[in-house]
Amino acid sequence: MDIFLQQLLNALSLGGTYALLALGLAVVFSIIGLINFAHGELMTVTGYAICFALIWGLPFPLAVMAGLAVAVVAALLMERIAFRPVRGASGTTLLLTSFAVSAILRVLFQNLISARPIPVSIPASLSGVLTIGPLHLGMIQLISIIVTLVMLLGLNLFLHRTMAGRAMRAAAEDFAVLRLMGLRANSVVATAFAISGLLAGVAGLLWVAQRGSVDPLMGALPVLKAFIAAIIGGLGSLSGAVAGGFLLGFIEVILQAYLPESLLPYRDAFAILLVIAVLLFRPQGLLARKTPVKL
């Protein structure tokens, strides 16, 4: 029983990170229909920013602030330079643009910074462990869970209580009508990217704290997981992305824990099979937005 509880805790922590990532993808997708595969590179940018801030002698909390700020700025720049010129183009164009941004950034990191991982000195206090009865929870895992909940709560408040948030929700419903209401499309889209940048920054920070280094390709895998999570949840649905993230984390941890040893190498295959099973029953994802049929 203790082991099962511990595995649940593990699932919660992994799922939280996936949820943060998937949410970052979903915020942008819900507004302009773009799946931003360069989202992972925003994590990498955050990592490098934290790393260099620490090398310049900033204390850790300030370095984290700097990292998050850089992530937001990078997301805004990405939107302005790469995605605004193709806004409104077909989904394929948007998708390929985001692949291009991601590939260019990776090559730039490799050739201008270093192809080899650069160590980031994470304070020893983050390696600590919280022990609750028989359960162990690493500091970073604990922070992942708390930060995920805070971000979810904050985003929810923002979307429901502020003008910009309401505009974003309206944009997700019907962009044309939003513009007819006299709201500036550019600022709504920029807000979406800024939020997605912040989410990527927070996820990047947690990711780097776990691994203790930054490397040019580190964003590739997380964005893939986020994509899967967003698909399970229903693309474009924010609560769906969160549900998808937690479900994916849960599936992965439970399979890792309870598959027989001989089947363990196929864990990812089983996880994807379960994802396909979910989609067979809910083709639009768990919490899909109901898209009205246009006549």
């Binding site: 805790l9 593990n10 192809a115 080899r116 991982p117 160590p119 462990v129 162990h136 776990q210």
Partner: protein, 384 residues
């Protein structure tokens, strides 16, 4: 604007390729991964090799008469692209091909070079089956996985460990086979395997795996894994976090500044690597020269490894006393006890994976402490 950027990039790559070769130049074609997942290994190897080539050319070429020309092409860490690049290099008249630091693209390139009768050397592929998969014109430039595993197993037995847990990842030959070779060598010497866990590379989540290890009763005496960045730091953080203090054995993938930056978490970890700079050793002298040349100390053994590849080429061509690819192949295959900066290198009597010294290093207060250095007893090395 976008066109300009493209032009600039292609210009930069064109500049990497050198001028046409002279009649008596040794033309080395380098199919290397300068971008993508293998770049962290190929870039430092290439930098070290280039330093050695500059030295050789400054001295008038190999044996004073064969200056070296290089043609460098990026493979983007992609096997299909590596085969394509290898064909281009063969067509460009290369007499020797260097392939990336991994068995898969090296096999892809080897299919081309073997047929063309041109020797190929991988920068640092460690999979011992590489020359078996390609043929007698394929070599590598790094201690093989089974050799590292045998050294680690000998150390485990000497340390009195009776049971071992191995953690593997099916995502690469290195992360899967090296711990399994360790398991074979360890059980052959009387140890027992307590279990085998797996992980997905790059996932950084070991919660489920660590919970299983923590619940083992009795716990294994030692845990062996070839996980490296970013997996190794995440694993050791989560393992120690769960209160498991079992000693850890690792392999050369963790020989990086990140590992040493983990502080108390990695205290006592022992790993195998291709070289250790003891006082007065050639490696220490090389590191000093590199620092003088670039202004920064080498952050990985792969730089010295690439430098030694230059020495291997020099010795092989000197022995062949010709630029005929077949003669160069024989020259490499007959090298014995060649002194590189990382230690002695022998190809004679092997299938193409060199016999090279392996160092076992213990991390102590963030510093390296040499545990053992040398080659394992050939009888102890698991068959590939």
């Amino acid at each position: 604007m976008k066109k300009n950027k493209l032009l600039l990039l292609s210009g930069a790559f064109a500049a990497l390729a050198s001028a046409p070769a002279m009649a008596e130049d040794l033309v080395i074609g380098l199919a290397t991964a300068q971008t993508g997942g293998l770049a962290p290994y190929d870039q430092p190897n290439l930098a070290g090799l280039q330093m050695r080539i500059e030295e050789i050319n400054a001295a008038g070429g190999i044996a004073g008469k064969f200056p070296i020309q290089t043609i460098i092409k990026d493979t983007r860490s992609d096997s299909a692209q590596t085969a394509l690049v290898a064909q281009e290099l063969v067509d460009a008249g290369a007499q020797l091909i260097i392939t990336p630091c991994d068995a898969d693209p090296s096999i892809a390139a080897g299919m081309i070079t073997q047929g063309a009768g041109i020797p190929a050397i991988s920068f640092c592929a460690t999979t011992p089956t590489l020359p078996l998969a390609v043929g007698d014109y394929m070599f590598s430039n790094y201690p093989a996985d089974n050799v590292q595993a045998a050294m680690l197993a000998a150390h485990a037995v000497e340390s009195g460990y009776k049971t071992a847990y191995i953690l593997t990842s099916p995502d690469s030959a290195y992360t899967l086979k090296l711990p399994q070779y360790f398991g074979q060598a360890f059980t052959a010497k009387g140890g027992a395997l307590a279990g085998e866990g797996t992980y997905s590379m790059g996932q950084q989540d070991f919660g489920a795996e660590v919970t299983k290890i923590a619940a083992m009763d009795p716990r294994p005496d030692v845990i062996m894994t070839s996980a490296y960045e970013p997996d190794f730091p995440a694993f050791v953080r989560q393992l120690r976090g769960a209160g498991v203090t079992t000693p850890i054995l690792g392999s050369d993938g963790i020989d990086s500044p990140t590992t040493f930056g983990l502080g108390d978490l990695v205290e006592g970890v022992v790993f195998s690597t291709a070289g250790h700079a003891t006082a007065g050793s050639p490696l220490e002298a090389f590191n000093a020269r590199w620092t003088e040349r670039t202004g920064a100390a080498p952050d990985t053994i792969y730089i010295a490894n690439g430098y030694d590849l230059g020495t291997i080429i020099e010795a092989a061509v000197t022995a062949a006393d010709s630029l005929d690819p077949a003669a160069i192949r024989d020259g490499i295959a007959n090298l014995e006890g060649l002194q590189g900066v990382t230690g002695a290198i022998t190809f004679k009597g092997t299938i193409g994976m060199p016999l090279r010294a392996v160092s076992l290093v213990r991390i102590k207060a963030g510093e390296r402490e040499l545990v053992a250095q040398g080659q394992p007893d050939p009888a102890d090395i698991p068959a590939p």
